[in-house]
């Protein structure tokens, strides 16, 4: 590893001043992984609030039977964009933000392998996000097709559909470039002595997620491009009259769509695998098994896509194959849950906010996993497909799972990033309010699905009223609670108490043991010596 060359007096026009540009140009031109990580995180939080506002509109309309606030067409636009913005604008960029901040520090590298590519990977996102928002303002509005964008409904949509397709292409490009960067960095830039089986599990989960992204995102690009050409260039991929098949779209989409959910989940698992050992003051139980389980989940994730299509009319052999493959995923996932519990067992536990969110994750993600097991059984799924049971399931794993894990990670690493502590009392309020309101929204949705309420409807029969009311009240509470989170983060950054050098005595990865708090703008310009 060559020593970093000083850029004093380089042709940048700021002779003798080593450090970032000031003002807006710093953020536009930065190639620093810490700056880029910060931008990803702020972008993701902004998108989270935008997507959250859409959820509030949805839950407001669903508070009571009848159409009170929006018309059915706009309602479909809300559900579609809520999904696209949350998945592609909020949760995925959040974990890329963590990857950028942490991977170089955790492996003892000075930055990502492709620092300029990193800048572009981020800056594609605000443009993509803008395209999604702009689609509301073109004739026909945003597409009302669900985030899954099934054909041939998509062929009926106005211009908003094309803007969305373009946005999806940009988002995909950003993810693919980011993953190439992450995989290359992890494989090539680990400090001497940092073998693969020695690096933090967070890095392992991102290494595997990187491969998933590279494999899956191009498939989504294919699906939406075929939609674009069916819409405008006379192709009939999804039109029987021309020899095509709507179900072809579903196969292509879900071949991307299933790995996609593990793309969201695996980095979340990685964060939890850092937080739980730190607050248990005990090493992660079964490190090797965790690596193998994560790999097994990733490989299996390519073989189960049609469990999203059990009602499409596939032959019985196919139903059975996908059922068996899907239920199998429960085995490595269970191994991970048991290993986290075993990490806590006989540890020396403390319950600061990161640990609270991690324990909340463990409890609620497992519940989501079990509703997934119920859904995996094709016979039962016939009743539950396209109902609120599915909505409940994926919000348990993506909100109580991935989002809570992101909260755990932010509280955990804020001191390292900013040199300041967040307010612990307020953090605990954020946790408990989120827990209570989250369950109020989504636990009752299991009942709605079982009782027969379809998803993606703006109005419903009377027997579904009570659970919907409870769910909507929970939604307003949960939404307000996230404003508290914004306050906590801003307060920490601007006026938080100075953090000690080692705020978490049980944390043992390189960023905690070998770097000051806050971490310097450039770290590990010479690699650390590992014993």
């Amino acid at each position: 590893m060559s020593a970093v060359i000083d850029s004093h007096g380089h042709a940048h026009g700021h002779a003798g001043h080593h450090g970032p540009y000031s003002g807006i140009m710093r953020w536009i031109t930065t190639t620093n992984h810490k700056d880029i990580g910060t931008m990803y995180l702020w972008f993701s939080f902004t998108m989270f609030l935008v997507g959250g506002a859409m959820a509030m509109v949805i839950r407001a309309e669903l508070f009571e039977p009848g159409l009170q606030i929006v018309d059915p067409d706009f309602f479909n636009q809300m559900t579609t964009m809520h999904g696209l913005i949350m998945v592609f604008g909020a949760i995925m960029p959040a974990f890329v933000g963590f990857a950028n901040w942490l991977i170089p520090m955790q492996i003892g590298a000075p930055d990502m392998a492709f620092a300029r590519l990193n800048n572009w990977s981020f800056w594609l996102l605000p443009f993509a996000g803008s395209l999604l928002i702009i689609s509301f303002f073109v004739p026909g509005g945003a597409p009302g097709v669900g985030w899954t964008m099934y054909a041939p409904l998509t062929v009926q949509m106005g211009m908003g559909m094309d803007l969305t397709i373009f946005a999806v292409h940009l988002l995909g490009m950003s993810s693919i470039m980011g993953s190439i960067n992450i995989v290359t960095t992890i494989l090539n830039m680990r400090a001497p002595g940092m073998t693969l089986m020695r690096m933090p599990l967070f890095c392992w989960t991102w290494l595997i997620t990187g491969y998933l992204l590279i494999a899956a995102m191009p498939v989504l690009a294919g699906a939406v491009t075929m939609t674009l050409t069916d819409r405008h260039f006379g192709t009939t991929f999804f039109n029987a009259a021309g020899g095509g098949d709507p179900v072809l779209y579903q196969h292509i989409f879900w071949f991307f769509g299933h790995p996609e959910v593990y793309i969201i989940a695996l980095p979340a698992f990685g964060v939890i695998s850092q937080v739980i050992p730190a607050f248990s003051r005990k090493p992660l139980f079964g490190y090797a098994s965790m690596v193998y389980a994560t790999s097994a989940i990733a490989i299996l994730s390519f073989m189960v896509w049609a469990h999203h299509m059990y009602t499409v009319g596939m032959p019985v052999t196919a139903q059975l194959f996908f059922m068996y493959a899907t239920t199998l995923i429960a085995v490595p996932t269970g191994v991970k849950v048991f290993n986290w519990v075993a990490t806590m067992w006989k540890g020396s536990l403390s319950f600061e906010t990161p640990m609270l969110f991690a324990i909340g994750f463990l409890f609620l993600f497992t519940m989501g996993g079990f509703s997934g097991l119920v859904l995996s059984l094709a016979a039962v799924d016939i009743q539950l497909q396209d109902t609120y049971y599915v909505v409940a399931h994926f919000h348990y794993v993506m909100v109580a799972g991935a989002l809570f894990s992101a909260f755990a990670g932010i509280y955990f690493w804020l001191p390292k990033w900013t040199g300041r502590m967040y307010n612990e009392t307020l953090g605990k309020w954020h946790f408990w309010l989120s827990m209570i309101f989250f369950n109020m929204i989504f636990f009752v949705q299991h009942f709605l699905g079982l009782a027969g309420m379809p998803r993606r409807i703006p109005d419903y029969p009377l027997m579904f009223e009570t659970w919907n009311k409870i769910s909507s009240i929970g939604a307003f509470g949960f939404g307000l609670t996230q404003i508290l989170f914004l306050y906590i983060v801003v307060k920490c950054i601007t006026s938080g108490e100075k953090a000690p050098q080692k705020p978490w005595d049980g944390a043992d990865s390189l960023e905690w043991t070998h770097l000051p708090t806050p971490a310097p703008y450039h770290s590990f310009e010479t690699p650390p010596v590992l014993k």
């Binding site: 409904l153 029987a240 098994s289 009319g313 006989k346 540890g347 403390s350 409807i457």
Partner: protein, 282 residues
Amino acid sequence: MMPSKSKYRAARWAAAALLAAFSGLAQALEWNLQPPATPIAADVQGLHEYVMILVIVIFVGVFSVMFWSVYAHRKSKGHQAAQFHENTMVEMLWTVIPLIILIFIAWPATRTVIAQKDTSNADITVKATGMQWKWGYDYVKGEGEGIRLVSELSTPNEQIEGHATKDAHYLLEVDHPLVVPVGKKVRILTTAVDVVHSWWVPAFAVKQDAIPGFIRDTWFKATETGTFRGQCAELCGKNHGFMPIVVKVVPQQEYTAWVEQQKKRQASADAAVQTAEANASK
């Protein structure tokens, strides 16, 4: 650390209140699959219950361990951390045992999946065509062959917009329901004319996507008479929530009488069309 007497009392009150609320709620609210009206639906309900019990047992087991740890292994209680971080025997056990449990789940599920797919030897075959936003029913084989209906939501707009009180079957009522005889195997062919829809009757545990340009099928055999209601189960545009399915299961004699009546109605409707066409060409 002994909790005070008043803490116990408060806990008892809370538990009693919760129990009362829950049982009252359970009766008043919908919280489980609809009562089954076919053997397959009963199978599915049983399978779901079986898996739920298994899952709850495992969940309670695992999280009792975790919550015990949260209580007993706290740093504030002075617990010192052990440093073990692997145990091959334990890890093998908790890989193999879940695998075995999964086999115990997949086995009964397999039987039901195979049964759900067996559409052979139907007594009556009806084609359900999904359209934006209503269903068309064509009786293509068996008693009633030749009958054609279009089945559209009949809830008045005033109710949807809040200018009139909503009736009991709000959004679950149609002008012309599908009528079938009890105890006969009915095969439903599904297709669509525009986008993907899905034909779903929860009480029958039947859901089959209706795909434009293709024909899929499913089946049910209703074991009791009654009116069973479902909704479209695939997003199909703005009125996806407003194209319900209503199936009237009637005794055999009533069905035969209904078939007669439909055939007469159709014959006179066809005659009227013929006359109109003849007049128009004059």
